[in-house]
Amino acid sequence: MLEKNYLWRIYWRLAGVIMVCVVIALAVVSYFSHAVFQRELVPETEQKAATVGASVRALVLKATGYGIDFSSLYGVEQTFAEVFEENPEFAYMAITNTDGNVLFARGSEPIGARTHFRNPVVLQIAHETTEMSKAARVGEQYIVSMPINDDGKPLGVLHVGIDSKFVEHVLLEVLLDVVVVLVVSLFFTLELLNFMAGARLASGLGEFARQVERMKSGDFTATARIRANDEIGRLLRRIDSAIDHLNVRYEFLVGELQDKMRTAAGAQREALRPAAQALEQIGKRFHFGSAPEASDSDEMNLNRIRAPLFAFILAEELTRSYLPTYVNQLLVTIPGISPQVVIGLPIMLFMLIVALGQPYLGSWSERVGRRKAMLVGAMIATVGFAGTALAYNLYDLLLWRSLCALGYAMVFVAAQGYVLDRTGQQNRAQGFALFIGAIMVATVCGPSIGGILADNIGFRMSFGVSAVMALLSILAIARLPTVEIRPVTTKATRAPRMREVMALVMNKRFMTLTGLAAMPAKIILTGVCFYLVPLYIVSIGNTSTMAGRMLMVYAVMMVLIVPLSASLSDATMRRDRYVSVGLIISGMSGLLLLLSDSFLVLFGVVFLLGLGQALSIAAQSALVAEHCQEEIRIYGHDAVYGVYRLLERLGNALGPLIASLLVVLWGYQGAFIALSALVLFCGVAFTIATRGSDWEPAPAR
């Protein structure tokens, strides 16, 4: 559609300009920060150099105390090397004698050091008997010098050189986080553009496009709508008025004709015949009059779900990168259960509640109304987040997390219902793209920002941020239209019955798809992304921020690949092949850890996992409709999909459990590898099972 693309071009251009501005601003902030860092950190580091130096000096004096000649000390450089290892900001250390000649040195000597050491002022230091040190800038280093004085007998001077570049290194470490902020900003920009201007613009332009189409097909029926008071609104009003004029003119002509027909007789009537025929022609080609009261701009209301959903999901996603580490901190030993498994408990419980709750919450939200259901859900989750932030130990944490899960399930289901209610057959896909889009952007922004927050302001405060985010989503939900749309055609959704679950679980075709593709995909997702990555990263001495970056890589892959594979899977390749390839790629991800255990390899793992999941995710659920037509005929569409979703979500809950058990058995790396191998196996099995002609896609209906 021309208008959509047009709008996106505008968005990207706007986002580009905004990004350029943001980059400039970030550069300015960094520049100022550098000045502050330099000014404040250097004296502090000099102090530290003095303390470290004093410790080295004490060692030297201990050695000379045993009668070893000062100039024939052995292994001084080795001591220096040990100092460098502990203090990377020190670049050079040297001991000179009282003449300023270097006896021992290690590291990169700054230009002008030799002259500096012979400077009478510096040499005078050797004769000091107090605990003192002097700092001076020499070349690229700050040199801190202190006396080595054995009970009044000057031996020499100890110099410690601080690399002036260390400040830059410190700032460079921030840079990676700043890049993450940039990426997140970009997504925020697009999301906000869509929220603040886009929803109206898009619906306005869409309306315009439809109007054009309508008129092209000869439909000039007047629509009685309230137009927004903006550019597009004005434009639409212009068109409306043109149509109105046309209608008035038509009415007038018709009236005149009818009038004349009524009064005319005989030849008169004959003379009017061409006009009447023309009118008939017009009636065939065009439609005039007033259009039936259209449902009030559904598309716009549909768009309005995006912001609150985004805000709410973001609250949960923020916690992804550090939740297990937080649980680890609150850990209470439960006899008989390995702590590794206990850490996975809150995630498992969360997923389980979401999985089991969704079918029931669906019909509940239908009864109480989507908006109200979302409000209640968001409130419960807000309490849950606040409680998690203040959790005393693992036990109440489990309770708070359950509240979060309940709220999450409510909002998720209700938002889904909201979209369902407002979309028809033809725009349902578009509606869900919007729904998934909001969630995906939240998964990009959430974990990375959450990791940064957790590392800097602590886990509890970060959960506080999530609570605030959930609270904000309440405000956004409150702004949703209060009028509920109840499509009469669809019957009330219901939870799948036990009988149906049993029947489907025993069904080979259904289970090939669910048990070999859908569930393993979810198991590896939650097992790796929500459990293993955050814990493993921290266990090898890295930070939650790094875990957040990893999860962001995954999410970015999803955002980039899913739309691509969704459109491709219809066209080029059989859907089940996409699922096969996706599963096999996911299954290979963890095997990368066989090569090396560096955290860089972990980036590769999440990259492949993201790629694999993205390839298969869109095709998976479509396959259900494609391959289980027989089952759908027997049990009904809702039941089949209900059971499918239920099992898929149980996979979500199983992920952390399986991963934690694997960690107990084989450690983190082993768990990564084993989990991947499992998925790889399922992928291969799925490929073999779907090979037959039985699995040829059904002809298009």
């Binding site: 004093a54 004490a58 060692l59 050695a63 009668g67 000390l73």
Partner: protein
Amino acid sequence: MARTFLALIVLVVMLAADGDARAQLSSRPYRIYAITFRGMTDVEKGFQDYFAARRIPVQITFRDLNRDNTRMPGFLEEIRRTKPDLVYTWGTGVTLGVAGTYDNVDPQVHITDIPIVFTLVAAPVLAKVVRDLKNPGRNVTGVFHVAPTETQIRAMASYRPFKSIGILYTPTEQNSVVVVEEVREVSKRLGFSVIAKPLKLDANKKVTSEGAPEMVRELKQQNVEWLYLPPDTYLGTQAKSIIIPAAMAAGIPTFASTEQLMEAGALTGLVSRYHAIGQFTAYKAEQILVNKVPPAKIPVETLTRFALQVRMDVAEQLKLPPPLPMFNYAELITAKPEPPAPIPPAPTK
């Protein structure tokens, strides 16, 4: 459902806490039957000190073999009669006397039903006390006292790096032969050469120190940088009078693998402090008595940190002062036998 689960967990925790409290209440001291080989040593002091420091009530019955193996059956009989909670055995001989080798246990003779903790067994696997250090697999565990060969080699290198070392050893002592083999293994990995010379045997196939000084001089000519003294019983008796003086004359630094060799005048060496060994043995005993871990599952280990000793007078003679970082952790032995101050006063003012 979550609530039920929660309640269940709370219940389990309460039960566990209750059990803990009961253990605290029991004040009956643990009874330990200890057999030493040559009277009380620092090991026993460390053993007792550990229990005292941890406030674990123990009642230890000490019995000394006094180098006389004929006393053993009497001790075993007493053990059977008094049924102590744990048996402590000092050295390889005593340990084998009480527990037997793993492939030759006679339940009529050896103690099998009472946990045995041994100490000061130099090579538990070689002596067939246990099959696998990590997993003893029988009702026996304990502590050995010789630092792993690689640790010793690394300690030597940290004093002065080398490309070649010499070893003198007794070819008839299996223990020494094994260590020499281990040194060769390590040399392949770390990249240095080993020149190992077996001591000569006399007409009666008995080892003799004859020709040892010449061998040391030969080693010097072959450019060895260190003389490594393996845990060798015969060598230990000859070190002070013959071998170390020869090395000093040739200007080769000596590295001692045992405290005895260190006392004989070696420059430096990595030794286990008997007191620490005793404490570690007590720690193993605590695992069995208090934590109720079966001995079969407690690994046989040695200390993770050994005492690096340096004779400063020897260092001065050889003009090889210890490297500066070593002053932080080494135990520096000065010529005059003054006890090293545990916390040397900081020389700074």
